[in-house]
């Protein structure tokens, strides 16, 4: 849900330009995985600010709680114990919507205006327009949107678009006690990430780097990873996320090609009638039966 209405760059299932007169600064939430202590304050802040309450789950014997994103838990900490060349490492990643530059969810959505992307880069679901088909779930390269069993609408992180619209940082950023999550203009955040990477490399993390995948035209949630060459070890962060050929065909070429082909077929049929005329019983056969007195 959103307060912004004049700075929309993309609107789902809409073929004309959305209201985009106002241009806002492109923002980024930078998650420095190397600074995260896994305290889950961000999870709590998220549900506090957005006033969502997940069902009380069961203990699975691990720290992950809840075990996965849900319609009420828009961000979760994912914990991984991984053997690397540095020995056993405990990698903690805050998972949630990446706010892609080219969002697969928005591309897949068939409901006009159910998903919008603001000029600041935030991808936001407008649940009142959502029809509950779940196409966004198939379109997302990061497996983020969750369909509510209560109202059959899809929910995910809004990057606190309501807070950002009035000049505040997202709730998770506000609450992070170690400064692992920071928020600001894209330029500032990329600059800050570079500084962090330089620092990490000096500390022996030779493969430290930024996770800002270009396959989705970059993201507006960016990670600093100590092992940027192997994002998969952070609980399956995809190495080269992209919308993918199936969704590209389904939501790209197929729509105009099939629509035009069906229109052309209908028009062709009509003009066949106009040029060739109907297929009637021949005069010869009609006569044969007329002579027979009855038809």
């Amino acid at each position: 849900m959103a307060l912004q209405s004049l700075d929309i760059t993309r609107r789902s299932a809409t073929t004309t330009p959305p209201p985009g007169q106002r241009k806002t600064m492109e923002v980024v939430k930078l998650i420095d995985v190397t600074k995260c202590i896994g305290c889950k304050a961000c999870q709590v802040a998220c549900m506090e600010w957005n006033d969502t309450r997940d069902v009380i789950g069961a203990n699975h014997g691990v720290l992950d709680n809840p075990m996965d994103l849900t319609e009420a838990s828009w961000t979760v900490m994912r914990y991984a114990e991984v053997e690397t060349d540095r020995g056993l490492e405990w990698l903690i990643r805050k998972d949630g919507c990446m706010h892609c530059g080219n969002p697969g969810c928005l591309k897949a959505c068939p409901a006009p205006g159910a998903i919008v992307q603001y000029s600041n880069g935030i991808v936001d679901f407008q649940e009142e327009n959502c029809i509950g088909c779940g196409y966004c779930i198939a379109g997302c390269p990061f497996n983020i949107p969750r369909l509510s069993s209560k109202d059959s609408k899809v929910y995910k992180c809004t990057l606190c678009s309501d807070r950002v619209a009035v000049g505040l940082e997202p709730a998770c950023v506000k609450t992070c006690p170690t400064g692992a999550i920071v928020f600001g203009s894209k330029d500032d955040m990329l600059h800050h990430a570079e500084e962090r990477i330089t620092d990490l490399r000096e500390r022996g993390f030779a493969k430290a780097g930024i996770y800002n995948p270009q396959g989705v035209d970059g993201t507006h949630v960016i990670y600093v990873l100590h092992h940027a060459d192997k994002p998969e070890i952070y609980n399956g962060l995809p190495k080269e996320p992209a919308i993918g050929p199936m969704v590209e065909i389904w939501k790209g070429a197929a729509k105009p090609v099939a629509s035009l082909a069906l229109g052309a077929l209908a028009a062709g049929a009509f003009f066949h009638y106009v040029t060739k005329g109907p297929n009637e019983v021949s005069e010869e056969i009609e006569k044969e039966f007329k002579d027979d007195t009855r038809s």
């Binding site: 073929t15 389904w250 197929a254 297929n279 044969e288 039966f289």
Partner: protein, 210 residues
């Protein structure tokens, strides 16, 4: 009430009812499917009570169609078995569309084009049902990996468009061939019509009488 005893029975009442049940559900499916396919067609969702209702109803109408279509499959599958003569008929069908039917082999009760349409619709229905189950988010999608759902979406869209194309062709040919809609509406055709369009069938049921 058809009061002309000379007319020939072409389709039985159950066959006709079955056909029109399929036709009505298919039209509802095509309209709701198009609404979800391209934003240009999204206003069609208003016919079903809005986008949410379109999303809810489309798969259930599909379930109804597969029942009706399944019934029609068992009714017509034997009469739709193609023969060498049907393929010969099909190879000349372009000439016929151009208005020249001198070289057309004699068609039986159903011509090669009708039989081919039947089998193509059967293939489309099979693909649409399988891919549709995978895409049915409320009950089934969680059973499948996302790559399969994406593939099913492409199959469903392509096959759906293909089936709509086949039905546009079917409707047009029914309009083009005068009096054939009557055959499916009330089941009877004139003898002259039968001799013109389905001569082998005409001979068969009239016992060689012209």
């Amino acid at each position: 009430m058809i009061r002309d005893p000379e007319k020939l029975d072409r389709y039985t009442a159950p066959e006709r009812v079955n056909h029109w049940l399929v036709a009505m559900t298919f039209i509802l499916l095509a309209l709701s499917g198009l609404a979800l396919f391209h934003p240009a067609f999204f206003p069609l969702s208003q016919l079903f009570g809005g986008g949410v209702w379109t999303r809810i109803l489309h798969p259930f109408i599909g379930a109804a169609l597969i029942c009706f279509f399944g019934s029609m499959f068992f009714r017509f599958r034997k009469s739709c078995i193609t023969t060498a003569a049907d393929w010969e008929w099909l190879s000349h069908s372009r000439e016929m569309m151009n208005g020249d039917d001198r070289n057309m082999p004699e068609a039986g009760k159903l011509n090669g084009g009708q039989k081919l349409l039947f089998w193509m619709l059967v293939a489309c229905m099979a693909l649409l049902v399988l891919s549709g189950i995978v895409m049915w988010r409320a009950y089934f999608s969680f059973l499948f990996p996302v790559a399969v759902i994406r593939f099913a979406a492409v199959v469903h869209a392509a096959t759906g468009a293909g089936m709509i194309a086949l039905i546009i062709g079917h409707i047009y040919l029914a309009i083009w061939t005068k009096e054939s809609i009557g055959a499916m509406l009330y089941g009877k055709v004139r003898r002259a019509w039968a001799k013109q369009h389905h001569p082998a069938w005409y001979r068969e049921i009239t016992g060689g009488r012209k």
